[in-house]
Amino acid sequence: MKALRIVTDFLRGIGEATFFLLAIVAALPAALLRPRLVVQQLYMIGVLSLIIIVISGSFIGMVLALQGYRTLADFGAVSSLGVVVAFGVVRELGPVVTALLFAGRAGSALAAEIGLMKATDQLSGMEMMAVDPIQRVVAPRFLAGFIAMPLLASIFSLMAIGVAGGHLIGVSLLGVDEGAYWSQIHEKLHPHDIVESLIKSLVFGAAVNWIALYQGYHAAPTSEGVSRATTSTVVVSSLVVLALDFVLTSFMFR
């Protein structure tokens, strides 16, 4: 009996979330007509996430370079260090780690903001002013997150490969030939790797935004409800990102 309840609740949640997504998508054209709202959110969601992305990207790049160097040294192939870092970061860690950080930094903030707006009657106030909150509040945030994620993931990857990340450790510290570092990346990293990376981050970005906005919009209008929405946003979107990564990778794996 109780198991049945859990299953029906789960299915109802999925149904609700799907309708919510459809409503957002239907409101997107209107949101595009008001770019100022989107730009404002791009700042809140994207620009304010930059620092954490830049720092994490650098550290991940450094770690990858250290680890890769030891393995490559055994085969006398340290000149391929750049490719090892670039592959790891572009294909996998860039989109995934960025999405996880994005869920923690921007997703939780979105859920809390929308949840609080609901709890303080701001959303129903808007409705009574004949303004659709999905169109005015939710859609611009969704769009901004969708645009911000691939940009953030690209910045993450560049930082990891570049002079503050893998390059710093590999070339400046361990003495890998600079020309080899770059030319190998140039030679081995194909455009389709980059396209696949962008697809991943677009999908992750949409998923994290969807989850965060849904959690906020459907939060119970209390302080506990808002805190629960924030927590579930981070937990659910992290799991969803990892699961989606597996699915996407297995499709792209050749």
Binding site: M117, T120, D121, Q122, S124, M128, M129, A130, V131
Partner: protein, 273 residues
């Protein structure tokens, strides 16, 4: 009720509404006369706020109908409903100001969304409305920098920004000092005459509300207990209405929210455990 057709702006008929198992309205009829100030009074928790949300079409009744200017609010597609709402201003009990916008921008919000006026006109309208509620000087402040009573006055300025046909005030007097209370009462009355508004005031500040309204309803326990002019209400034969007006703790209304078990039984339970 003799009022018919054109005289009535909002017509509520046999309205039934429940939150889950808890019935809030059990078949009520209310007529809001056009161009008048109508008070809806009742104890806390009877569903006064709920009634306003039903009129605004935010919630759907289980049965019965609400007509605004001859149009059934709950039988409209979303777009038509939004058109109706532009003609209703609502002052929320807690103000419901947008916390990321300044006082000025809050009042400008409905104008920017709907009016298509140029910036200079929006500025003039907003300053006029803020002046009317005595808060022009607070235009640059943010909602967290003003008091609850001030927030409610800003919300009033916002509710009348689009010059609606009707304004619904949810507890406008709570948290106002005597001076702003007096100003607000006069303001509601003046706005009603000057803009040709229809006003609905929901409140339990009986004296204040009766002194500025043309007609009043007393609602409790899901029913309309009495309605009439303020004088008629004051001399109501209903025991309940008298208790409510005079604020006596004893009478047909119970101060306590309905409990399943007796007080003694509840306490004894605790002692036994």
């Amino acid at each position: 009720m003799t009022s018919t057709g054109q005289d009535v702006l909002v017509r509520v008929r046999d309205l039934r509404f429940a939150f889950g198992p808890r019935a809030i309205f059990d078949g009520i009829d209310i007529d809001i006369p056009r161009g008048k100030v109508t008070a809806i009074m009742g104890p806390s928790g009877t569903g006064k706020t709920t009634l306003l949300r039903l009129i605004g079409g935010q919630w759907r009744p289980q049965a019965g109908s609400i007509e605004f200017d001859g149009v059934d609010v709950h039988r409209q597609p979303r777009r038509k409903l939004f058109e109706l709402r532009k003609r209703m201003g609502m002052l929320f009990q807690n103000g419901a100001l947008l916390t990321d916008l300044s006082v000025f921008e809050n009042v400008a919000f409905p104008l920017r969304e709907h009016s298509g006026l140029p910036e200079s006109m929006i500025r003039d309208v907003v300053l006029m409305k803020l002046e009317a509620v005595g808060l022009r000087g607070a235009a640059a402040l943010y909602p967290e920098q003003i008091s609850g009573g001030m927030a409610r006055r800003v919300a009033l300025a916002r509710a009348i920004a689009l010059e609606p046909a009707m304004v619904m005030y949810d507890e406008p007097f709570t948290g106002q000092d005597p001076i702003s209370m007096g100003v607000l009462m006069r303001l509601i009355r003046t706005l009603n005459e000057a803009l040709g508004l229809t006003s609905v005031i929901v409140s339990h500040d009986v004296e204040e509300v009766l002194s500025i309204s043309d007609y009043a309803y007393v609602v409790s326990g899901g029913k309309v207990l009495d309605h009439g002019t303020p004088q008629a209400i004051r001399s109501s034969a209903s025991e309940f209405v008298q208790q409510f007006l005079l604020g006596k703790p004893d009478g047909p209304v119970r101060f306590q929210y309905k409990a399943e078990r007796s007080y003694a039984a509840d306490l004894l339970d605790g002692a036994a455990a």
